[in-house]
C-alpha cells in the first residue's frame, strides 16, 4: 500500500486536491481499515484535518451550525449541543470507543462504509459490485428488518438517527457548488443498481450540519442497544424529538409533535411516522408510556434471525419516552 498524502489548508484547496482518484479523509478511522482491507484503492490521500473552516460549532439566530470536521468527542461534550440537542450529544457519546470518538468526525461518521460482516469479509456482495446479498439468507442477526431493497445491511451511524430526528440539514459542496439536503433525504438504501448509502456525489463533501433553533419546549433523547455495554454498533437504537406544551398554567401538558427515528433496523435512519402520529397530540404523562400501544415497525419483514429487533425497538422507544419524562 503506497500513496502520497496532501494536507490542504482551505476548502478550495481540498476540492482541487481531489482528482485522479484521490480520497479525502478526516479522522481516518474508517478509511484506513478500508485501505488495509484492499476495499479502497488510491495512490493519493487528502487529509482534511488542517481545513479549519470546516470545524467547530457556531450558534446563529435561527440555527446551530456544526462544521463537518468537528469530532464526535467534541460534540458529545459540547455544552450547547448537550443542552439543546441532547439526542445528538448522546448519539456521539454512544458511538464507537473513546479513541475513535477523539479522531472520528461528524462528517466522516455520516459517510462511513457499511459494517455488514459479509461486506467487511469481502464476500462479492452488492456493496462490492457483486450480484447477491449474502447476509439475507446467511448470518442475518444484525440485518435490516425494514426499509431494505436488495442489500439488507443497516446504516451504522448513531448520529445519523439523531440528525434525522432533529430535522437537521446537511450542507455539501462540490465542484458545482453547494447544496443543502434534509438529513432525512440524505441517506439511501443501497440496491443492486446503486450501492451508495447516501446521495453524495463523488466530488462532493459534507461541509456543515445545520440544526434548527428549536423552542424551549423541545427535548430529545437517543437510546441505543448493543451486544455489550459499550464499543459496538447498534443492534437497534432510537432517536426521539418531542415538542411538549403546557396548555395553560397548571393544566396538563400535551405532546405537540413527536419525531421517532430508529437506527440499526434499516439501511437508513428509519422514521416511524405511524408512531409519531399516534403520539402527537396526546396527554404527556406516565400513562402514555405505560398504557400506550406501540405498534412499531409494523411493516417489517424480518429475516430468519432478526425478528427480535422489532420488540427491541419498541422497548427502546418506551425507554426513550420515559427518559424524556424523567428529565422534564
Amino acid at each position: 500500500m503506497n500513496f502520497d498524502i496532501a494536507f490542504p489548508q482551505t476548502f478550495d484547496e481540498a476540492i482541487s486536491a481531489n482528482e485522479n482518484g484521490a480520497r479525502w479523509f478526516a479522522g481516518g478511522t474508517d478509511l484506513i481499515p478500508l485501505l488495509k482491507s484492499d476495499f479502497v484503492h488510491t495512490t493519493r490521500l487528502v487529509n482534511l484535518k488542517r481545513v479549519d473552516e470546516l470545524r467547530g460549532v457556531v450558534e446563529t439566530n435561527d440555527s446551530v451550525r456544526i462544521g463537518a470536521l468537528t469530532t464526535l468527542a467534541e460534540l458529545a461534550g459540547h455544552e450547547l449541543i448537550r443542552a439543546k440537542y441532547r439526542a445528538l450529544a448522546q448519539a456521539c457519546d454512544l458511538a464507537a470507543s473513546p479513541q475513535i470518538r477523539n479522531m472520528g468526525t461528524l462528517g466522516g461518521n455520516l459517510n462511513q462504509a457499511s459494517r455488514c460482516p459479509y461486506y467487511r469479509n469481502n464476500f462479492p456482495c452488492y456493496l462490492h459490485g457483486g450480484d447477491k446479498c449474502f447476509m439475507r439468507d446467511g448470518e442475518n442477526r444484525e440485518a435490516a428488518v425494514i426499509g431494505y431493497h436488495d442489500c439488507v445491511h443497516v446504516h451504522p451511524s448513531d448520529p445519523a438517527n439523531a440528525l434525522v430526528a432533529l430535522d437537521a440539514q446537511i450542507v455539501v459542496r462540490g465542484r458545482e457548488g453547494e447544496r443543502t439536503i434534509a438529513a432525512q433525504e440524505f441517506f439511501r438504501a443501497p440496491d443492486a443498481n446503486d450501492t451508495r448509502m447516501n446521495v453524495l456525489n463523488a466530488d462532493e463533501m459534507i461541509t456543515e450540519i445545520i440544526l434548527p433553533n428549536d423552542s424551549e419546549n423541545t427535548r430529545s433523547v437517543y437510546v441505543k442497544a448493543m451486544d455489550r455495554a459499550v464499543w459496538t454498533f447498534a443492534l437497534a437504537s432510537v432517536a426521539v424529538k418531542l415538542e411538549i406544551r403546557e396548555r395553560s398554567a397548571g393544566d396538563s401538558t400535551r405532546l405537540e409533535t413527536a419525531c421517532v427515528v430508529f437506527g440499526g433496523v434499516a439501511p437508513i435512519p428509519y422514521r416511524e411516522l405511524r408512531v409519531e402520529k399516534m403520539l402527537s397530540g396526546k396527554e404527556w404523562n406516565k400513562d402514555l408510556v405505560t398504557q400506550g400501544k406501540f405498534a412499531v415497525l409494523q411493516d417489517a419483514e424480518p429475516l430468519a434471525h432478526n425478528a427480535y429487533k422489532i420488540r427491541l425497538a419498541r422497548g427502546l422507544l418506551k425507554r426513550a419516552l420515559r427518559e424524556c419524562l424523567e428529565n422534564a
Binding site: 459479509y118 469479509n121 448470518e139 442497544a225 455489550r228 455495554a229 427480535y308 420488540r311 427491541l312
Partner: protein
C-alpha cells in the same frame, strides 16, 4: 541422599509420568496457623510499573537490525485440494527472501499429525504459504501475488453432522479423535434412573470462545552461528526450546528461549507454532533475524479456541435431592486439528457423589477452527450445562439450589474413592451464601417491573495441584540481596511477585531485597509450562526449597562471623542474630568480598494416597430488562478454595479476570460462522470481549486455608477455577429473575428477546 523418582504428573486431567530429581526436603509445610511475614500479604506486582508505563519489552517489541518478516497466506476454503501454487512473482520481488509452501518445503512435517502446509487444507484459515521479506508491508504485498489453484472438496462444519457415517472426511483417520467416543461408566445407569423420583433432561450448546490475547502469537529469532535465540510469547519456554532444537537438529544447549512479558495466553500459547519453527529455520538458513507475528485475523481463526459443544444431560434424583443417576453425552467440535480432547465430562464425573453415571464424549473433527486449551478447557463448557441442569432439578424438587448441592457433596473423590488433601467446597458455599445474602434473596418473589433482578449460584471443581519436575535456584548476591532463578514464566498472573515473596519469607530477607529472573532458559533451571493452574504449586515449593538451602548456608557463614553455634543463628529481615549479637548480612557480605551463595531446590512428588482439587462457588446477581432484553450482571461473589493465599492482590486479579472471561462466555463471546465456513467476526470489533463497562462488582472471598498435605506452601492453583462456574451462575440468576432457562451460551440479546416474546413476558 537425593534420588531419581518417576512420578505421575496430572495437568488438566491428563496424566503423564515424568522423572524428577528429588532432594531430601529441607522444609516442612507452613502450618495453617503459621505467622508469615511476607507470604499472604497484599504486595503489588514487582513488574507492575514497567507493564503500565510501556517499559516492558514484549515479544512483538523485539526489533533487530536486518530483520526479516514472516507472513502467512491462508486458505479461503474450508476443504480444498491445492492443485498448484504459482509464487514466481513473489519470489522475484526485491526484498522477498523466501516463499515456502507444500510443494517446495524440504520437510513439510510439522508434527506427528500435521504438516506445515496441509494439503488438502482443512479450514478457512489453514496455512497455504509463508512469505519472508525485508518488511512487513513487502511480505503482505508479496502474499497478494501468489496464485493458488484449489479443487474444492465437500466439507462439514457441525460436530454432530461430522460424527455421522457418511460425513465428508476431515482427517485420513476419520472424524472422531481416537476413532471412537470416550466412555465412562460407574454403577448402573438404568437402575439409577429407575430409583429416581424426578428426572430432568436438557440439551445445551456452547459457542466457541476465542482467547483474543492482546499480544497475538509471535516470535523473533536470531541465529548468531553458535546460539539460536528465540523470543516467544509463550507459556512454556522450555517446551519451545525443546521443539525448536529438534526441528533444527541443534543441541538443546544451543537454543535459548525468552518470554520476559506475555501479552495474554490463556492456554493458547503452549507449543511452538508453525510460525515459530518456520521463523527459526529461515533465520538459520538466511543468517538473519526473523520476526513472525500473527495478524489479528490469523490470531482469531488459526491460533485456537475453546471448542463449541453440544451436550445432552439427564439427571435423576430422589425426592430429597439425592442424585441417583447422571447421563451425559457431548459432541465437541475440535475443528480441523486437535491431539487431545477438552474434558467436557469432567465436572459431571467429579463434582457430585452420584453413584450411577455414564458419559459418552464425541470429540469431532470438522472443517472449522482448531481447538486449543483455553482456561479450564472443557470444565467451563461442562459446568455451564451441569450446573444449569442442577438448578433446574432443584426447582423441580422445590428445593433450594444450594441445599441440593450440599446434599450431593462428595467428601471423597467420586471416581477413585481417595480422600482429598483438602476440600473447601462447603466453606465456599457458606461464605458465598453469607456474602450475597442468599437466604433472603433466594426467597424474594419474582419481580414484575421492567427491570427484574435475580440471584443464582454454581459450583466448581478443578485441578491445580502442581507437580514436578520444577527446579529453582537462589543466588545470594554480593550485597546480600537475592535473586530467584527459574525457567518458569509469568503469564501476567503475578508469578514473579509470589516467587519473590516465598524467597523473602524463607530467606529472612526483606521483600525489596529479592529479585527474580524467569522466562529465560539460559538463566534458570527447568520449571515446566505455566498452565493448568500449576505454576504457583509447582515452582513455588521448589523456590522455597532453594531458599531454605541458601538460608542454611547463610546461617553457617553468619555463625562463623558472629562466633556462635549455627543452631543459634537466625536471619530476620536481613540481619543475622544469635544470642544477643547481631550483624546485617549486607555487612558480612561486604567483608567477604566475592563470596557467592547459591541455593537449589526441587519440587517433590505429590502424595499418591490423595486427590488434589480446587473447589469453589460463585453467587451472582443479575438484572434483566424485559423490554429491551438487556442483561446486566450486577454483582459476583466468588468464593474459592485454592489452599493458602500467597498474595491476595494477585489472587483477586486472577478471580476478576476469570469472572470477566466467564461473563464473556456466558453473555457476549461467540464465533459467527457463515455456512461457507468463513468466520465473520475474526477481529476485536465484531467479536465482543467484555469491556470494563460490562464488569460488575466482583468480590473475592477466598477460603484461605493451607492445604498441608499438598506441598510445602499449602498452595493450590487459582488461575482457572474462577472462570468455571460463572456462566452457569449467571444463567441460573436469569432464571430466577424472569423464569426463563437458557440452554445456549452465549445468552445474547436476540435469544433473550425471542424468549421474552415467546413466553409473553413484559411488554
Amino acid at each position: 541422599m537425593p534420588k531419581l523418582v518417576k512420578t505421575k504428573v496430572e495437568n488438566e486431567g491428563r496424566v503423564t509420568e515424568e522423572f524428577t530429581w528429588v532432594e531430601t526436603p529441607k522444609t516442612t509445610v507452613w502450618d495453617v496457623e503459621e505467622e508469615l511475614r511476607v507470604v499472604g500479604k497484599p504486595i503489588a506486582r514487582v513488574d507492575g510499573v514497567e507493564r503500565a508505563t510501556g517499559a516492558a519489552k514484549y515479544t512483538t517489541d523485539i526489533q533487530l537490525p536486518r530483520m526479516v518478516h514472516g507472513k502467512f497466506l491462508r486458505s479461503p476454503h474450508p476443504h480444498a485440494r491445492i492443485v498448484s501454487i504459482d509464487a514466481s512473482e513473489a519470489e522475484q520481488m526485491p526484498g522477498v527472501r523466501a516463499v515456502l509452501h507444500a510443494f517446495n518445503l524440504a520437510s513439510n512435517r510439522f508434527s506427528s499429525t500435521r504438516d506445515f502446509f496441509q494439503n488438502p487444507v482443512r479450514f478457512v484459515g489453514d496455512e497455504v504459504a509463508a512469505v519472508f521479506a525485508d518488511s512487513d508491508n513487502l511480505a503482505r504485498a508479496a502474499l497478494k501475488t501468489i496464485r493458488v489453484e484449489y479443487e474444492l472438496l465437500p466439507y462439514v462444519l457441525d460436530a454432530e453432522s461430522a460424527a455421522q457415517e457418511n460425513a465428508p472426511q476431515v482427517t485420513p483417520n476419520g472424524n472422531l479423535l481416537d476413532g471412537k467416543p470416550s466412555t465412562y461408566t460407574r454403577g448402573d445407569i438404568e437402575k439409577g434412573f429407575a430409583q429416581a423420583d424426578v428426572i430432568v433432561e436438557g440439551v445445551f450448546t456452547t459457542n466457541a470462545q476465542i482467547h483474543s490475547s492482546l499480544e497475538t502469537h509471535a516470535c523473533a529469532v536470531d541465529w548468531d552461528g553458535k546460539m539460536l535465540t528465540v523470543w516467544e510469547s509463550t507459556q512454556d519456554v522450555e517446551g519451545i526450546k525443546d521443539r525448536v532444537a529438534r526441528h533444527l537438529k541443534l543441541d538443546k544447549t544451543r537454543v535459548r528461549v525468552i518470554a520476559s512479558y506475555i501479552g495474554g495466553a490463556f492456554g493458547a500459547k503452549f507449543g511452538a507454532g508453525k510460525y515459530t519453527l518456520l521463523a527459526a529455520q529461515t533465520a538459520y538458513q538466511l543468517k538473519r533475524p526473523v520476526r513472525f507475528v500473527l495478524d489479528r485475523r490469523g490470531e482469531q481463526i488459526a491460533a485456537g479456541q475453546r471448542s463449541p459443544t453440544k451436550q445432552y444431560l439427564k439427571l435423576g434424583a430422589k425426592k430429597d435431592g439425592t442424585l441417583t443417576a447422571l447421563e451425559m453425552t457431548h459432541y465437541t467440535n475440535v475443528g480441523a486439528y486437535a491431539t487431545w480432547s477438552p474434558f467436557v465430562e469432567g465436572p459431571a464425573r467429579e463434582l457430585y457423589a452420584c453413584p450411577n453415571l455414564q458419559t459418552t464424549g464425541y470429540t469431532v473433527f470438522t472443517h472449522s477452527f482448531p481447538f486449543a486449551a483455553f482456561r479450564a478447557p472443557g470444565f467451563v463448557e461442562g459446568t455451564f450445562a451441569l450446573e444449569s441442569m442442577m438448578d433446574e432439578l432443584a426447582h423441580k424438587l422445590q428445593m433450594d439450589p444450594l441445599e441440593l448441592r450440599m446434599k450431593n457433596y462428595s467428601s471423597v473423590h467420586p471416581e477413585s474413592g481417595k480422600p482429598f488433601t483438602s476440600n473447601g467446597l462447603l466453606d465456599a458455599f457458606q461464605e458465598g451464601a453469607r456474602a450475597i445474602d442468599w437466604e433472603t434473596k433466594k426467597r424474594r418473589k419474582q419481580e414484575d417491573g421492567i427491570v427484574r433482578r435475580g440471584v443464582g449460584m454454581a459450583s466448581q471443581i478443578w485441578y491445580g495441584a502442581g507437580a514436578p519436575p520444577a527446579y529453582a535456584m537462589i543466588r545470594v548476591n554480593h550485597d546480600a540481596s537475592a535473586t530467584v532463578l527459574t525457567a518458569s514464566q509469568d503469564l501476567g498472573t503475578g508469578t514473579k511477585t509470589i516467587l519473590c515473596q516465598i524467597a523473602a519469607e524463607e530467606l529472612g530477607l526483606p521483600f525489596e531485597r529479592i529479585g527474580v529472573e524467569i522466562a529465560d532458559t539460559q538463566m534458570g533451571p527447568f520449571a515446566g509450562a505455566s498452565g493448568g493452574s500449576m505454576t504457583a504449586a509447582s515452582v513455588g515449593p521448589a523456590v522455597r526449597e532453594a531458599a531454605a538451602d541458601a538460608r542454611e548456608q547463610l546461617r553457617h557463614i553468619a555463625a562463623t562471623f558472629l562466633k556462635k553455634r549455627v543452631k543459634d543463628v537466625r536471619i530476620e529481615n536481613g540481619i543475622a542474630k544469635a544470642r544477643g549479637v547481631e550483624k546485617p548480612l549486607a555487612e558480612i557480605f561486604r567483608e567477604l568480598d566475592n563470596l557467592q551463595v547459591v541455593g537449589h531446590g526441587s519440587r517433590y512428588p505429590n502424595p499418591s494416597a490423595y486427590e488434589i482439587r480446587t473447589f469453589g462457588a460463585q453467587f451472582v446477581e443479575v438484572a434483566v430488562d424485559v423490554e429491551t432484553g438487556e442483561i446486566r450482571v450486577e454483582r459476583v461473589v466468588a468464593s474459592h478454595d485454592s489452599g493458602r493465599i500467597l498474595n491476595p492482590l494477585t489472587v483477586s486479579s486472577q478471580v476478576e479476570g476469570g469472572v470477566l472471561q466467564g461473563i464473556g462466555f456466558a453473555l457476549l463471546e461467540g464465533r459467527v460462522v457463515d455456512a461457507s465456513g468463513v468466520a465473520l467476526n475474526a477481529n476485536l470489533e465484531a467479536y465482543h470481549v467484555p469491556t470494563i463497562a460490562d464488569a460488575p462488582k466482583i468480590e473475592t472471598h477466598m477460603i484461605d486455608r493451607a492445604d498441608v498435605l499438598a506441598n510445602n506452601l499449602g498452595v493450590k492453583g487459582v488461575g482457572e477455577p474462577p472462570i468455571i462456574p460463572t456462566a452457569a451462575a449467571i444463567a441460573n440468576a436469569i432464571y430466577d429473575a424472569i423464569g426463563v432457562r437458557f440452554y445456549d451460551a452465549p445468552i445474547t440479546r436476540d435469544k433473550v428477546l425471542d424468549a421474552l416474546e415467546r413466553m409473553e413476558i413484559g411488554a
